[in-house]
């Protein structure tokens, strides 16, 4: 039985690690002054946190503080509750604004954040997770890693012209990528005649490729071992549905989240959007993978590579999945 998290059961009860000391009316007045430019709900969440120490109130405080420092015309993005929003690129937060955010978060949550801990916080989700771990006294998470196409090409066994990831971000909780359909893809010459449409099988392929990248960059393996790029293959998928015809010029927003990972199988859910429109979802797809000693790994390509113009070469390693519309 779980007690109401906001109601300590007795005067001496101290259910949460964050509850360091009593919260006086003076503290509340100071908190109100500190948060005077934040939404009322931010202040309310901060009061609840300071009264109870319940970390569940922290995300609302953190988002409220970030919102207060973001230019008004960009604030609407925060309403989308997208943890992948990038502080710099999407919200215009520079390093000085980040410091302002930190000073205010430190102040209202009565915590201390070190400079070097800040450097890895790239997305709203990073900030929320980081502060949550700090408050719960948990080890700090691995930061989200951003990979431009040069780095993706450097680590992936799949290469142009069959690589459908232009840029990607990988964290321990999942991965996101973008791919712009250029119209120069070789298969669009025939799919379809005088009517280029991105094959659904290739959209499934793009999801699979992001799964490969996640296995190579995102999962924690046993000490001294890494996932071997040459051992990853597609095994199956379920619940694949295409919702939107995608054509040259569309930018695919590709997302996957791991559902189960147990050697030698990793199962993901995945989705592709174009803007706010759902383009495809996959309830489940599974990749198989193997490990090798970290020392034996030789990088595939470590130099920046400009994606080659399309030409008809071999198929990719991962997917032979057949989408319903292909």
């Amino acid at each position: 039985m779980v007690p109401n998290p906001d109601q300590p059961t007795g005067p001496e009860a101290k259910p949460f690690i964050g509850l360091a000391k009593t919260f006086t009316p003076e503290d509340e007045a100071a908190l109100r002054e500190s948060l005077k430019r934040c939404s009322p709900s931010t202040f309310e969440a901060a009061v609840q946190y300071r009264r109870t120490g319940n970390p569940e109130h922290v995300p609302a405080v953190v988002i409220g503080v970030i919102e207060r420092f973001v230019e008004p015309d960009l604030r609407v993005k925060l309403k989308e509750a997208d943890d992948d929003l990038r502080l710099i690129d999407d919200l215009g937060v520079d390093s000085l604004t980040m410091m302002e955010i930190v000073v205010l978060v430190e102040d209202v949550l009565t915590m201390t954040i070190n400079n070097d801990e800040l450097r890895n916080l790239r997305t709203v989700g990073d900030v929320k997770l980081f502060i949550d771990c700090k408050i719960r006294g948990l080890p700090l998470p691995k930061p989200t890693k951003f990979l431009p196409v040069e780095q993706i090409v450097g680590v992936m066994p799949i290469q142009p012209p069959f690589l459908f990831l232009n840029e990607a971000s990988v964290s321990s909780s999942g991965a996101n990528a973008k791919y712009k359909i250029t119209g120069q893809e070789f298969f669009l010459q025939g799919h379809f005649k005088d009517n280029p449409v991105m094959p659904a099988s290739i959209m499934l392929e793009a999801l699979g490729q992001l799964g490969v990248l996640f296995l190579l960059e995102g999962i924690a393996t046993e000490q001294g071992k890494v996932v071997s790029p040459s051992t990853i293959f597609f095994t199956g998928c379920e619940g694949v549905r295409a919702h939107r015809i995608c054509r040259p010029g569309d930018i695919l927003s590709i997302s996957i989240k791991p559902k189960r990972t147990k050697m030698p199988l990793a199962t993901f859910e995945g989705s592709i959007r174009v803007g706010q429109e759902k383009a495809a979802i996959v309830e489940e797809f599974t990749l198989t993978f193997g490990l090798e000693d970290a020392a034996t790994v030789t990088p595939l390509v470590r130099l920046p590579v400009v994606p080659a113009p399309t030409s008809i070469t071999g198929l990719g390693q991962v997917a032979n999945g057949t989408g319903p519309n292909a």
Partner: protein, 419 residues
């Protein structure tokens, strides 16, 4: 050497926040003094100041600040600003519009900016207090940028995307004349084509009251008597703030753009007293030398000078010193130039003074008037033989001198000529 002209002006001052109202105040000798609210407590011996109107910048949190209609400053710009940076940001907008400069003409490697302010004692005090009471890491990350003496050039160079020469000058009340003089040099030496010159001060309690203990401020309670340079009853200066921006351009740039000019900046001279850390030389030796050098540098005969905008701040010692310096230069039988101190209506702008009064000189030359020296009832006998004009003359001066003297005995004299 190319000639240098003033092509644009911007004013945020105690006597007006635009060119038209400043000109009107200078012509009619309307002063900007009032019983300044922050001075009205019984513990403050000084009562009068000349605040800038239309701005509300008395919070330590820039997001509380308000501006006159027409000026909006984004939070990310505002957060590193001092009050004097805000004033200068607005004066920059005016000067850029006045000089009809495009964004590209403002931001290129041939356009620079020299600035002068005393920083922001107000925000510095707030930051240090917070540091000592709340903790070192609890200060605003940009507190230092907003408060030290370079705050003007830091802010303006970044926000107006200045790519040419930049820097700040720190010679107290001579600062913005030094900025103007060295900006002239940049243009005359062919190193830049265009220079912004900015003088600014917070002009609030923390900027003004530290001068009280050295007995430099007027203790008068009547706004009409507090600032009266060259009057026997003068008892100190009245503090003011704000910002003035001048746009200086080479003759080639003026011809290329085909814009009207206010006047020529003919040249300048500077010399130091080498005498006292805060008190002018009793005979104004350094100032006289600066004037002499300025006249020589610009090949100006003494008798050609029509008008002198004096530094005279309304302090007993300083005004006497300047009167003696002027008498040593403008001796009979040469024509005596008209002399006035516009500080009688504006108050003393410290680092702002040189730029502000140079702006006044430019208006006087272009619009054809010489502002009078207001509030004189009993002219100091030290001024005998000087033509101190007590009311505004409707005559166009062709050659104008602007003097400043700063702490440490720094003296600068600038020469402006009808174009």
């Amino acid at each position: 050497m190319p000639k240098v002209y003033i092509t644009g002006l911007g004013f945020i001052t105690s006597i007006g926040n635009d060119r038209a109202s400043v000109t009107n105040s200078l012509r009619t000798l309307q002063h900007g003094f009032e019983h300044y609210a922050p001075f009205q407590g019984p513990e403050v011996p000084v009562k009068i100041a000349a605040p800038v109107r239309g701005f509300q910048l008395d919070s330590t949190d820039p997001e509380d600040w308000t501006f006159p209609a027409g000026y909006t400053i984004k939070r990310e710009v505002l957060r590193g600003m001092s009050p004097n940076a805000v004033y200068s940001w607005c004066a920059m907008q005016q000067a850029i519009a006045d000089a009809r400069l495009t964004d590209a003409e403002v931001s290129n490697r041939h356009t620079g900016l020299y600035a002068a302010s005393g920083g922001s004692p107000f925000l510095m005090g707030h930051m240090l207090h917070r540091m000592h009471t709340q903790g070192i890491m609890k200060c605003s990350p940009l507190g230092i940028v907003a408060s030290i003496a370079g705050t003007l050039n830091f802010n303006l160079v970044a926000h107006f995307r200045i790519k040419g020469a930049s820097g700040g000058f720190s010679s107290a009340c001579a600062s913005s004349s030094h900025a103007l003089g060295f900006a002239y040099d940049e243009l005359a030496l062919g190193r830049q084509k265009r220079m912004f010159v900015v003088g600014a001060e917070d002009g609030n309690l923390d900027a003004i009251l530290p001068f009280a203990s050295m007995r430099a401020l007027s203790l008068q309670t009547d706004p009409n008597l507090a600032s009266r340079p060259f009057d026997t009853g003068r008892d100190g200066f009245v503090g003011t703030g704000g910002a003035v921006v001048l746009v200086l351009e080479t003759e080639d740039e003026v011809a290329r753009r085909g814009v009207p000019v206010y006047c020529e900046v003919a040249g300048w001279g500077q010399a130091s007293d080498g005498h006292n850390v805060a008190i002018s030389h009793p005979d104004g030796q350094g100032l006289a030398a600066a004037i002499q050098l300025a006249l020589e540098a610009t090949a100006t005969p003494v008798e050609a000078v029509d008008y002198v905008n004096a530094h005279a701040t309304s302090t007993p010692i300083g005004d006497t010193s300047e009167a003696r310096a002027l008498k040593s230069i403008f001796r009979p039988p040469t024509t005596r130039p008209a002399i006035s101190s516009t500080k009688a209506i504006t108050g003393h702008g410290l680092s702002l003074a040189g730029a502000m009064e140079s702006g006044f000189c430019a208006l006087a030359i272009r619009d054809g008037f010489m502002p009078g020296s207001a509030h004189i009832t009993n002219l100091d006998p030290e001024c005998d033989g000087l033509n101190i004009i007590r009311s505004t003359l409707s005559a166009q001066p062709r050659v104008v001198l602007n003097n400043v003297s700063g702490f440490g005995g720094a003296n600068v004299s600038l020469v402006f000529k009808q174009a």
